[in-house]
């Protein structure tokens, strides 16, 4: 929606004006030359996109509310008929317009959401009594094909979130010996799989894989799981009583995490992901110090030293990478 290059250049010109390196007339002319202010067509595109996605969002939430109301006047057949007709209609539009077009993507999101509504209504009508994880697992399974052809990263992100949610619910509802360490291991494995998939597709030059937000969100989540898993291990774990293999696996995974960080350091040169890794390390190390009985002043010093060194190193690295 926003041309980041124009945005960056414009902000640089504003900075120059702030530092009195160009005057107001020069600034106005400079902004005009680089077409900083959005043109009529950009405005139209923005309004059009917002209306499309706003319209779809309103329709979907309206549909969810409509079935959540559980209107008794409607027979179960009418309910299914309504959802299925809407589902078929939106899917036909996807096929007609092509899933990679903007209308196709909006309709694909509608279809994906309608599948979820249909499963919820199924549970409501037949009172299946199934655990909630079953709904999310079925939902993720049924939409997989559409996600693969969508060529749209937000749909992928939603799909990964759905799988994470389904796995969490499954673990919570089905596992009798619930262990946080194993739970985080599963989540880490799932998300590393998608991260690797993303990077492989990116290296292969897949045209719809662009930007850095997708791996950054995924790695932020992976490092959060690492940190929580390790904190749990440090805080709760008792040797010879708990499952030593699970703990060993988590430690191995942490080493894998360090490997991922090294890969991003060496090849991708993504400072944000390195920052997440260091933050995770600081959290784990500080928690270890707490567990070992460090005092408040010592903790304050440790945090200060870790944060300061991490910031100094990242800043140095960032400057080096920019020079390259």
């Amino acid at each position: 929606m926003i041309d980041m290059k124009v945005s960056k250049t414009g902000h640089e010109l504003f900075e120059l004006a702030k530092e009195k390196k160009i005057d107001k007339l020069g600034l106005s002319r400079g902004l005009e030359l680089m077409r900083f202010y959005p043109s009529k067509s950009e405005w139209k595109k923005m309004i059009s996109t917002l209306l499309l996605f706003g319209g779809v969002a309103f329709l979907i939430t309206g549909t969810i509310f409509f079935f959540a109301y559980n209107w008794q006047e409607l027979t179960k057949y009418t309910k299914f008929l309504l959802i299925e007709v809407a589902l078929i209609l939106s899917t036909v539009v996807v096929l007609w317009k092509n899933p990679v077009s903007i209308i196709g993507k909006a309709c694909l999101i509608t279809s994906i959401m309608l599948v979820g509504v249909m499963l919820a209504v199924f549970g409501q009508v037949y009172q299946t009594g199934a655990d909630s994880y079953a709904l999310f697992v079925s939902w993720a399974f049924l939409i997989s094909g559409w996600v693969f052809v969508s060529e749209f990263l937000p749909i992928w992100m939603g799909y990964i979130a759905l799988i994470n949610l389904a796995s969490s619910l499954y673990w919570n509802q089905m596992m009798s010996d619930f262990s946080f360490i194993k739970f985080f291991q599963i989540l880490i494995l799932i998300n590393i799989f998608f991260l690797v998939l993303f990077e492989v597709l990116k290296i292969k030059g897949t045209h719809w894989i662009n930007g850095r937000w997708f791996p950054r969100v995924l790695t932020a989540w992976i490092y959060l799981c690492f940190s929580l898993g390790m904190i749990n291990l440090i805080g709760e774990y008792e040797f010879f009583r708990d499952n030593d293999l699970a703990a060993l696996l988590l430690l191995l995974m942490f080493v894998t995490g360090l490997g991922i960080t090294f890969y991003y350091y060496q090849h991708i040169k993504d400072i944000t992901i390195l920052g997440f890794a260091l933050l995770s390390f600081i959290i784990i190390f500080t928690f270890l110090m707490v567990k070992l009985g460090a005092g408040l002043l010592f903790l304050a010093l440790i945090v200060l030293v870790q944060g300061g060194s991490a910031g100094w190193w990242l800043n140095k690295l960032n400057a080096e990478w920019r020079r390259d």
């Binding site: 250049t9 010109l13 004006a17 400079g30 329709l59 304050a300 945090v303």
Partner: protein, 352 residues
């Protein structure tokens, strides 16, 4: 941040047109910007260690914490010391975060001390406003300047509640709308003047405060909102600014204000204002979204978009109708939006 290739090209063109510009070849280190993750990481560490250190000091139970005069002097010393360090030492993320933590700590100490000495809420809050203005002017930290704006607004609101002057909140709101409109619509002028150093933190702080204030004032059905704010007046301010902005935009894009497109847009704005009369936040979020879009400010665009979603949820939540009616309204809105989208696509030629 080095000046990008595009900026150097624009500057060269300006030079060719005889504008006074600096020679960029020798200015490669202009306004170095640090990635947010580095600032965040160092800031987090600085703040966490400052808090832990403070806890340690408090647990030592030093006597001076119980003396209001010493507390006030300590507070002001922290503020002045932080200012001195920040303004005199070489710019570093770590130093700036630590001084920021100490400055805020000093403000808290000073406010507690002044509150105890004066035993008056209005004097304490009035002094806080003055201190914040002083800090905005003298403490060269964008984060503190950004935080000072909501601190001033919050102080003024507390003062409104304390002095019990009915509907005074609307005057603050009017002041904010006028200031927001002025700052967003005159960025070029502000950045070229002495305001340039303060512009970005102040406009971000003011915009975020405005969004939060509308949420507090009209998002909840509290007695505070009904006593100190008149909802239709708030909507009127926002609709007025929106129409003024639309007129400026139409002029900039050479659209006749009295053409059917111009009249249609303005009627639509008024109608939208009437429909969302009880929830001015929705129109305010749209207004801020469009203002930030015009300035290509992605951060405020995201903030206002989230605010729009939040206000819309509250709007539907507060509707006193059944879930069935709500769902029908939502679906009708969806259909209306989609029709509007396709109408816009079809009449594209006429607008262009």
């Amino acid at each position: 941040m080095r000046a990008s290739k595009e900026t150097i090209e624009v500057l060269q063109q300006l030079k060719d047109e005889n504008y006074e510009v600096v020679n960029m070849e020798s200015e490669e280190s202009l306004g170095e910007s640090t990635p947010w993750i580095i600032n965040g990481l160092v800031g987090l560490a600085a703040w966490l260690s400052a808090i832990l250190g403070l806890f340690f000091v408090f647990l030592q139970r030093f006597n001076f914490f119980e003396n209001k005069f010493i507390l006030t002097i300590l507070g002001f010393s922290f503020i002045v010391g932080a200012m001195f360090v920040m303004n005199s030492l070489k710019k570093s993320i770590f130093v700036s975060q630590i001084t920021l933590a100490f400055c805020i700590l000093g403000e808290i100490f000073a406010m507690i001390g002044i509150g105890q000495i004066s035993e008056s809420v209005s004097i304490t809050i009035g002094l806080n406003v003055l201190i914040q203005i002083f800090i905005i002017y003298n403490f060269k930290s964008s984060i503190h300047r950004l935080l000072s704006v909501p601190a001033i607004i919050a102080s003024l609101l507390i003062l409104v509640g304390y002095l019990e002057i009915p509907f005074l909140g609307n005057i603050i709101l009017l002041f904010m709308v006028v200031l927001l409109g002025y700052l967003w619509l005159n960025k070029e002028m502000c950045m070229s003047s002495f305001l340039g150093n303060f512009y970005n933190p102040i406009i971000h702080g003011l915009t975020i405060s405005f969004i939060v204030l509308l949420l507090i004032a009209f998002g909840t059905n509290s007695s505070f909102s009904s006593e100190y704010f008149i909802v239709w007046l708030a909507t009127l301010y926002i609709v007025s600014l929106m129409i003024y902005y639309e007129i400026r935009l139409m002029k900039a894009h050479h659209i006749e204000i009295l053409s059917w497109v111009g009249i249609f847009i303005m009627i639509l704005t008024v109608l939208f204002g009437v429909v969302t009369l009880q929830s001015p936040g929705i129109l305010a979020a749209i207004l801020i979204f469009t203002l930030s879009f015009n300035q290509r400010n992605t951060f405020i665009m995201v903030v206002s978009f989230i605010a729009l979603i939040l206000y819309s949820i509250l709007y539907y939540y507060n509707m006193e109708v059944t879930l069935l009616i709500k769902s029908i309204i939502l679906m009708s809105c969806g259909v209306f939006f989609l029709i509007a989208k396709f109408t816009l696509s079809r009449m594209g030629g006429e607008i262009n």
